[in-house]
């Protein structure tokens, strides 16, 4: 996934049409400024050694370096800076101008997840499936605070604002999975607001659009549980912001008004779609509703997963790295 020269990444992968262009300007800047800096350092070191203070050099000589140097080192850096401006602006124009016939995607940022919607109806959370070699135009807004959609291997980012649509675009040049990061601080789980772009061959992309699934209902539910970021609040221990789900199904639950209910199928379903209806005692009303985001099929998968948590040992929690997560397309989303 990442070309590792050293045991850690020194340079990010190039996965978009813009990436090599950004890198070219970066390398130009690095070479010129690095060279200029090195020259300055060596000059300083040389002068500080050659003219160091010794008993026979207690006082400086009155001769100075030629003053025409002053003009030279104003003009030359200025020309260099202007070239950076021109090149940088040219690149910026390319990043800003959306090519013709892009594939459209809609993105919403909200604390603390990315929701992507394809025009054909697929909804994804924290994952974005796109075809390779095709310009992708993302139209986006935030549901709450300012976020920033960042694709480091595509070298593009743009802030996502509340109440205002913005657009950005990229064209991926190789298949694979690449990071999505939120790049504008947005609260508690800002660093958890991450995901993956899954760039696929056009035929695979078509297949994905059409649907496909694998695994048991519960394991699909587990993948969905992680994909929907439920695990960020419903952790396996008591540090989470939501109640522990292991052993929940079928147990008695005390609510915030001190009444008791049994955690059956309907309770679990309602807790996903209308979390404020029955608040568990000791927890705040912070769970967002997934109404409209999970289809009935998906609710079933989640239910199966939660039920499976009563069985010990629990299913493996960690999704193996590098494995693409197939998305079961929503058949009928309830509004």
């Amino acid at each position: 996934m990442i070309a590792l020269v050293a045991p850690f990444p020194l340079f990010p992968e190039q996965a978009s049409t813009i990436a090599p262009q950004t890198d070219a300007l970066f390398i130009f800047l690095s070479v010129v400024t690095g060279g200029m800096s090195l020259l300055i350092f060596l000059t300083i070191f040389y002068l500080a050694v050659v003219y160091r203070r010794r008993p026979d050099n207690e006082l400086a000589q009155e001769e100075e370096a030629p003053h025409s140097l002053e003009i030279a080192w104003i003009i030359v850096p200025f020309i260099f800076f202007m070239s950076c401006f021109v090149w940088g602006s040219w690149l910026y124009f390319k990043i800003s101008r959306i090519p013709d016939n892009p594939l459209e995607v809609y993105a919403t940022g909200k604390q603390w997840m990315w929701k992507f919607q394809h025009p054909t109806g697929q909804r994804e959370i924290n994952t974005l499936h796109v075809p390779v070699n095709r310009p992708i135009k993302i139209t986006m807004a935030s549901e709450d605070v300012i976020h920033s959609l960042f694709f480091p291997y595509f070298r593009v980012k743009a802030d996502v604002l509340p109440n205002r649509y913005r657009t950005m675009w990229f064209q991926a040049t190789k298949t694979g999975r690449f990071h999505i990061f939120c790049a504008e601080y947005c609260g508690t789980s800002h660093s958890g607001m991450v995901g993956w772009v899954d760039v696929m061959e056009p035929t695979d992309y078509q297949k994905w659009l059409a649907g496909g699934s694998e695994g048991s209902l519960a394991s699909q539910g587990e993948k969905l549980f992680q994909k929907l970021a439920c695990n960020t609040c419903h952790t396996e221990d008591t540090t989470g912001r939501g109640p522990i789900l292991k052993g929940l199904y079928g147990s008695r639950v005390t609510l915030s008004d001190n009444s008791e209910v049994t955690a059956d199928e309907n309770y679990i379903r309602e807790s996903i779609l209308n979390p404020q209806a029955k608040l568990v005692r000791g927890f705040g009303p912070i769970m967002p509703t997934f109404q409209g985001q999970v289809s009935e099929d998906e609710l079933l998968k989640l239910l199966a997963y939660v039920k499976s948590l009563n069985v010990a040992p629990a299913l493996s929690r960690r999704e193996p790295a590098g494995e693409p997560v197939p998305h079961t397309p929503a058949k009928e989303t309830k509004r």
Binding site: F41, A48, E58, F150, G192
Partner: protein, 551 residues
């Protein structure tokens, strides 16, 4: 070549005079003082405490970042720590440090004046600083704030559950400390120069502080009113910056950065002033291109007001305004470059000493150069789209603020320590400290340039596993840096009691401050000096020093 040697002036016995430290005793003689030198000491103590506090937050952050998971601190706590690190370091350490400590102490003496123009306002400035700091400490104790030092809306106004009002109020108060200090310095430089001290005979430190003061005076009020509007929105629930109620979050950003960009020049200009002083003293040479360096300070101050939206290139401003700000940002790099080249050229045929202040300043020049050129990266629009909001920016500003401003502050502290305290610090321990700071700093922050370019965003509590090695390197460097900062705290305090007593001019430097005793008398000079020589005119000054009574 003059025939006078420096040994005559350098090793003179310290006179047994009353000085500003022992002329009065008692708690209230300090807390109600109007002496700019004592006020500088008051600032030194309070600012140092805040530096340690800000450093504590940094240490916790770097410890957390040893591992990719967020396992040391909760997310909320980490977010509060990076917010408080920024607020404490910027408002309570960097902005006051050189101006309020070294500027307060040295500026009047370099002007040949008895005090600043408004001594009582100077004391008020310190009290405003303390009130702001106490409010800040209170906020930290009752739970902190987690908005980032930038307080972007609508997160800070509508979504944060932390003490936003308290923090912004504390910042508001401490802003007035900064404004009044700037006001005082400007009037002092204009109206209280000694006879014969024309503008182009001023030390470059004075030019730098003067330029800084202009920025403090004119930029800080804009932050003040922005914070007022933020506080109003937070309290009254109105929508000045909230898009849901018709407000514009980008207006907040424009107004915030209109101050906060010039603020970074408040932080670096005084450092550049110290650099000029130290380079001149430790090469025993007039700074090359004196007038260019003097005017470059003014140019930086002016141009600094024109570039604020380079913090907003991906925020949603138009492509055309982005281009304008990128263009102007390139301009502000030119006067900084002039300074670096001129300091370098001063070394030519000088008498270059490798004593501690010079070591810090040589480090400053190198690290400031790196920080400055990475600013060009950020000003280049196409690159900025990729690296903004990543660790590349974090590395850039730490190179300037820590590798630059803090190292220059330490240089100035060591350079003027004999004047302030009447004692010399232990030279070899000091050199060790400088070395540790330099090495530790680079190990901490250079990996962050790489981290930023490979994509690690800033303000991240947990990060992708492949970023770990670089983060571990950074934390290792931070530990070395911490030791490097701890050493001066120990030996400078030690020197107050056990350090070798200093004469009036231990460095053999040129400047009015070196013509009076160490420490100076309360009124700075026993007789008002009359200046007939140019700045850093070593041959002429030596002759004049032989005639003065100020020892």
């Amino acid at each position: 070549m003059t025939s006078v040697t420096y040994h005559d002036v350098r090793l003179m016995e310290p006179a047994q005079t009353r000085n500003y430290l022992n002329v009065d005793y008692g708690f209230f003689s300090w807390l109600l003082t109007r002496d700019h030198k004592r006020i500088a000491i008051l600032y030194m103590i309070s600012v140092s405490i805040m530096f340690i506090l800000g450093g504590f937050f940094a240490m916790m952050m770097r410890l957390e970042l040893l591992t990719p998971e967020g396992d040391l601190l909760t997310s909320d706590t980490y977010n509060k720590f990076f917010t408080l690190h920024g607020i404490v370091m910027i408002f309570f350490f960097l902005i006051p440090s050189i101006p309020a400590i070294l500027g307060n102490f040295i500026l009047p003496i370099q002007l040949g004046a008895k005090d600043l123009a408004f001594p009582r306002i100077n004391l008020l400035s310190w009290y405003l600083y303390i009130i702001g700091a106490v409010i800040g400490l209170y906020v930290i104790i009752v739970g902190g704030v987690d908005t980032g030092w930038t307080f972007y809306t609508p997160f800070s106004t509508q979504y944060s559950n932390t003490h936003v009002f308290g923090t912004t109020f504390g910042a508001f108060i401490v802003g007035f400390s900064s404004i009044l200090t700037g006001l005082n310095f400007i009037v002092t430089v204009h109206r209280m120069r000694a006879p014969g001290l024309t503008w182009f005979r001023l030390p470059l430190f004075v030019w730098a502080i003067y330029a800084t003061s202009l920025v403090q005076l004119l930029a800080t009020p804009v932050l003040a009113i922005t914070l007022v509007m933020l506080m109003v929105e937070r309290i009254a629930g109105v929508g000045i910056f909230d898009p849901a109620l018709g407000g514009d979050p980008l207006l907040y950003q424009h107004m915030f950065w209109f101050y906060s960009h010039p603020a970074v020049y408040i932080m670096i200009l005084p450092a550049m002033g110290v650099a000029s002083e130290v380079v001149a003293a430790f090469t025993r040479k007039k700074i090359f291109g004196y007038k260019f360096v003097a005017f470059s300070s003014l140019a930086i101050a002016f141009l600094g007001f024109l570039v604020w939206a380079h913090h907003m290139f991906v925020a949603g401003i138009s492509v055309y305004s982005a281009m304008i700000f990128s263009f102007l940002s390139m301009f502000v790099a030119v006067p900084s470059a002039i300074k670096v080249f001129n300091w370098t050229a001063t070394l030519y045929k000088g008498s270059v000493s490798w004593q501690t202040p010079m070591l810090y300043i040589l480090g400053f020049i190198g690290l400031f150069t790196i920080g400055g050129v990475t600013g060009i990266f950020l000003a280049s629009l196409g690159i900025d789209v990729h690296v903004t909001d990543t660790y590349f920016v974090v590395a850039h500003f730490h190179y300037i603020m820590v590798g630059g401003a803090v190292m220059a502050y330490f240089a100035g502290l060591h350079y003027w320590w004999p004047k302030i305290s009447g004692r010399m610090y232990p030279e070899w321990w000091a050199r060790l400290g400088a070395l540790l700071v330099f090495v530790g700093f680079n190990l901490t922050f250079f990996p962050q340039f790489i981290l930023g370019y490979v994509g690690m965003p800033r303000r991240y509590h947990a990060y992708a596993p492949e970023f770990q090695v670089l983060n571990v390197m950074s934390t290792a460097g931070a530990s070395v840096l911490a030791v490097g900062y701890f050493l001066p705290l120990v030996y400078l305090l030690w020197s107050l009691r056990f350090g070798r007593k200093a004469g009036p001019n231990p460095w053999g430097a040129v400047g009015l401050e070196w013509t009076t005793s160490s420490p100076p008398p309360k009124e700075n000079f026993h007789e008002t000096p009359v200046v007939t020589w140019d700045a850093y005119d070593y041959p002429a000054m030596l002759k004049a020093m032989g005639e003065t009574q100020n020892v």
